[in-house]
Amino acid sequence: MDFSKINLFKALSRKMEWLADRQEVLAQNVAEANTPGYKAKDIKPADFRDVLGQAGKGAAAAAVAGRPLALTVTNPAHFTGTRPGPKTAAEFQVKDRDAPGRLSGNDVVIEDELAKVGQTAMDYELTTNLYRRHIAMIKTALDRNGS
């Protein structure tokens, strides 16, 4: 059985991917907390439509391209122009902080970053727990003590 073909698992995997990416960006912010001129980054919020676009049935063509919101293709030879690959600059958001910057040009607030790290870990736990529950449900259907 291929779990990745079940929409729910696909959506959960995508959420986990997003959280892992965010954790990477936050770790970078903390590591560069003393680098002059460094601006704190954050990843774009996970969009409900992104997750659905990836996982929903209606966007089957987009799912084939591996990216949500793909261009409409009228001929199979057309390029969709959306290739899955390394993160682009557009996926990162540079924060526009109201607080006045420091003389060093660095605007990382370690407390904020650690709060976000905690939040990400909690979301991750929620997602993995949901994943486990759904596997348990499938196991129940297969009658293999899934409860």
Binding site: A27, V30, A31, E125
Partner: protein, 135 residues
């Protein structure tokens, strides 16, 4: 697995903070190191700066030590005509190390180190959760 890159980033952060602590230790240890020759320069305080660097092999931006420079601020003076390092007027130049500044810097390095450690700890928990899916 993307989460493993986090370890690399945080480890680089901890690495530069320990390098910073080394510089602070040198400054504090040499807070009283005077010149060897009459009228010579005493120990000059060191400063460390960081920069971010792209690790191309793993596609992560890590942090590195940019350079370790000398603090250009003025030396202190002390009137001690009989000291071997005293100049013609009887003054001895003392290092431009302020122990209070060094201690504050040390505390900041410690806090940043702990923050990086915290991120590693949280990421480890996240990886454990992933492994638990299989259980």
């Amino acid at each position: 697995m993307d989460l493993k890159k986090v370890f690399q980033v945080s480890a680089s952060g901890m690495n530069v903070q320990s390098e910073r602590l080394k510089v602070i230790a040198e400054n504090i240890a040499n807070a009283d190191s005077l010149a060897k020759t009459p009228g010579g320069k005493p120990y000059q305080r060191k400063l460390i700066t960081f920069k971010s660097e792209l690790d191309r092999a793993n596609d992560v931006e890590t942090v590195r030590v940019k350079r370790i420079q000398r603090d250009q601020s003025d030396f202190g003076t002390r009137y001690d005509p009989h000291h071997p390092a005293a100049n013609a007027d009887g003054y001895v130049l003392t290092p431009n190390v302020n122990p209070l500044i060094e201690l504050m810097d040390m505390r900041e390095a410690q806090r940043t180190y702990e923050a990086n450690l915290n991120v590693i700890d949280t990421t480890r928990t996240m990886l454990q959760r992933t492994i638990q899916i299989l259980q």
